[in-house]
């Protein structure tokens, strides 16, 4: 397995009180190399928290359970160390970083992750090609990271970074929200390119619509801080049609079989 999340409980770091403030409540997940998994769930179910906890955001504290990457626990690793191992996430609302240009961030990060395996000129050429692929002008690279970006530009910027930095596991946190149809198609085609490179994907979303453009291995329905149900693409459409009522969030599992893909 590339990623294994085992019975994971986590809470906001600043919260002292335990049980009732738990956001992740026993998450189990296993992603093999090259697999594409989708996590769907209602607002406030803790989907983004899961992404942040895997990435090691100090805002959250793991209370119990484990996260293994390539068979080793990464719980004690800092965020940058997890990135060095090949984990990356894109942000639902990526932060503005005034003064830091996108190309500067890309080059600095690339050198940190992959060293000197390519020359500056190769990397420069590659960045420009990736900007072409997301249908933005080359000046995009000269802009400060996310500063004054439109919703679509932010998401395109995130996916561009992911393509350039070539992680082994890419977590996409609501990469599809707020995108119009054209932008969604562009972003989805980039996700497919990333997949072709052999990257495993964990796609967190509200909507099944992005799945129209992607092949996926597993769909997990995520309710109240844990995976309530796992199935194939059809589960996503089913959820979209009938809502999350198909799983009974509070009590865990509905009358549908727990793993409809079996």
């Amino acid at each position: 397995m590339l990623l294994e999340v085992k019975d994971l409980y986590a809470k906001l770091s600043e919260n002292e009180e335990e049980a009732e403030k738990m956001i992740l409540k026993g998450v189990d997940l296993a992603i093999a190399p090259g697999e594409v998994h989708v996590i769907m769930g209602p607002n406030g179910s803790g989907k983004s928290t899961l992404a942040n906890v895997i990435m090691g955001n100090p805002r959250y504290t793991v209370v119990s359970g484990d996260i293994l990457f390539e068979g080793e626990s990464i719980l004690n690793l800092r965020t940058d160390e997890r990135a060095q191992k090949g984990i990356m996430m894109t942000f639902q609302n990526p932060y503005e970083i005034e003064g830091v240009k996108l190309d500067q961030l890309l080059l600095t990060a690339y050198r940190k992750l992959h060293g000197e395996d390519k020359t500056f000129f190769q990397l420069d050429k590659e960045m420009k090609k990736l900007v072409d692929d997301v249908v933005l002008p080359h000046e995009f690279l000269e802009r400060f990271v996310n500063l004054g970006f439109s919703g679509g530009e932010r998401k395109k910027g995130e996916i561009l970074q992911a393509r350039f930095l070539r992680p082994k596991l890419l977590i996409l946190d609501e990469i599809d929200s707020g995108l119009d149809v054209d932008a969604l198609r562009i972003v989805a085609s980039q996700i497919n390119e990333i997949k072709k490179e052999g990257t495993s994907l964990l796609i967190i979303t509200h909507y099944a619509r992005i799945l129209n453009y992607l092949d996926v291995d597993k769909v997990h329905v995520y309710v109240s801080g844990k995976v309530a149900m796992t199935g194939d693409k059809n589960l996503a459409y089913e959820v979209e049609e009938t809502g999350y009522a198909i799983v009974n969030g509070e009590n865990g599992v509905s009358d549908l079989s727990k793993d409809s893909s079996k």
Binding site: M55, N57, P58, R59, R78, T79, D80, A83, Q84, M88, M89, F91, P94, Y95, E96, I97, E98, G99, V100, K101, Q104, L105, T108, A109, K112, L113, F144, Q161, L165
Partner: protein, 468 residues
């Protein structure tokens, strides 16, 4: 981390290996009194007018009260400062004649190399005296005068008298008076009419004595239509007693001249750095201040421009960096007197590890300065929750048809920004460094290439040592 380890080593080197162990030729005792001032004057073999100037300044000093604002100065005991340390070195224009120990220190700072590569001339001061001064021969032939003030006192007394402490008179404030009494070393630069100096001139100040004070004086005259860039750099090894620097700079930018004054201040963190910098711009003149304040324990410096002539311009760009234990009180002062005058202020400060940055600014547009235009922007960036940043911009506009813009912003690096950059593989240090370097970029691009690199290197060192 490799780069940062290297930077750490470099910093250690600077702190410990820069110590210059040379016996001075003369070291006057600490304490302030007239006798001592006569001794300084005698040591310099000064004419009577300068001795009188010193004594008069001292009398003014004794009457002046401490300014009741700025940095806390309780630890600064003026009676304990050693005011005059004469290095055992004769003035020369040949590095080979500089005593080996002192030359090694300037070599480490890269000064002789910089002179060969990209400077029009260099002055080097060690303790209280300029020990080296040289300007390229072809520039000397154009009539440029680049000497230390002591030489100017002897060789160009009439010229010097017109300018010396006229813009910053000893009556200005207590420290101006102290400076008038104790001044030693510094630069006299005269650029004749229409001469455009192709490369910057630089003076570098190095300090080698615990408990000492450095009081260098700088007079620059850019005559009509001339252009010149002047760089002032300073550093000192750290001692465990308080050192004092009260430098004074007077800049005269005549009709149509352009002058750029760059400062890279990197004093050690036991230094009280209390400077006075003032320029006066005549008709169509352009004055630019570019300042980087990194070092010192406590700093007070507010480069000022008086826009006297019509259509004159002042730009003031500064970056100050307050690390653990530092209080950096900097700012700017612009007085518009002539018509159609223009000024900009772009002041940026960074505080980290408990440091305190304070911006203090005065912009005054006088009654007769019609159709003037001014903008003031001050921005503070705090790297953590321990640090402080303040801004006090004062703006007075005394006519109705001038245009004034003002912006003040204080921000903090957010944890989310750091997490975002770390999720791309950068360490916390690298993430902060990237943000800080972006923040100071507008200043960096005003600097000659070599100084831009130096500034970026300083930023890395400061952040590295502040985060620990």
């Amino acid at each position: 981390m490799e780069l940062n380890e290297l930077l750490y080593e470099l910093k250690k080197k600077e702190e410990f290996e820069l110590k210059v162990d040379v016996k001075p030729e003369m070291k006057l005792p600490a304490g302030l009194n007239k006798e001592l001032i006569y001794e300084i004057s005698a040591a310099k073999n000064e004419p009577a007018w300068m001795t009188e100037h010193r004594i008069k300044s001292f009398e003014i000093f004794e009457k002046w009260h401490e300014p009741n604002w700025g940095v806390e100065r309780d630890e600064l005991n003026l009676s304990k400062i050693v005011p005059y340390v004469k290095p055992n070195a004769k003035k020369t224009n040949n590095w080979e004649e500089v005593p080996q120990e002192i030359k090694v220190a300037f070599d480490k700072l890269g000064i002789p190399e910089a002179e060969r590569k990209y400077l029009a001339g260099v002055g080097a001061q060690f303790d209280s005296e300029m020990i080296y001064k040289n300007i390229k021969e072809e520039l000397k032939k154009l009539g440029i005068i680049f000497i230390d003030i002591e030489t100017a006192v002897k060789e160009y007394p009439d010229l010097l008298k017109q300018y010396f402490m006229k813009l910053v008179p000893p009556t200005d404030n207590k420290y101006a008076a102290l400076h008038g009494a104790l001044w030693s070393g510094g630069t006299f630069l005269y650029v004749p009419k229409g001469v455009k100096v192709p490369l910057p001139l630089q003076s570098y100040f190095l300090f080698g004595n615990p408990g000492g004070g450095q009081f260098e004086h700088t007079v620059i005259i850019a005559d009509e239509g001339s252009e010149v860039t002047y760089i002032e750099g300073c550093t000192a090894p750290k001692y465990d007693v308080v050192n004092l620097h009260v430098g004074t700079v007077e800049v005269y930018v005549n009709k149509g001249a352009k002058l750029k004054y760059l400062t890279m201040q990197n004093w050690s963190k036991n230094m009280f750095n209390l400077e006075i910098k003032r320029a006066i711009a005549e008709e169509d003149a352009v004055m630019t201040w570019v300042s980087g304040s990194f070092g010192s324990y406590k700093t007070m410096v507010y480069p000022a421009t008086i826009l006297k002539g019509d259509n004159s311009v002042s730009d003031n760009i500064s970056i100050s960096f307050a690390g653990p234990g530092q209080h950096i009180d900097t700012g700017s002062k612009v007085i518009h007197i002539g018509k159609n005058t223009r000024s900009t202020v772009d002041a940026r400060s960074i505080s980290i590890g408990g440091g305190w940055s304070f911006y203090r600014g005065l912009l005054k547009i006088g009654e007769k300065a019609e159709n003037s235009k001014a903008s003031v922007s001050c921005t503070g960036l705090m790297i953590d929750n321990k640090s402080k940043s303040d801004t006090v911009p004062i703006i007075e506009v005394l006519n109705a048809n001038s245009d004034v813009g003002h912006e003040a912003k204080i921000g903090r690096i957010k944890d989310e920004q750091i997490f975002y950059l770390m999720s791309r593989g950068l360490s916390e240090l690298e993430a902060k460094g990237l943000i800080v370097k972006g923040f100071i970029q507008p200043v960096v691009q005003e600097l000659p290439f070599e100084y831009a690199i130096e500034l970026n290197r300083l930023v890395d060192m400061e952040i590295e040592s502040s985060i620990g």
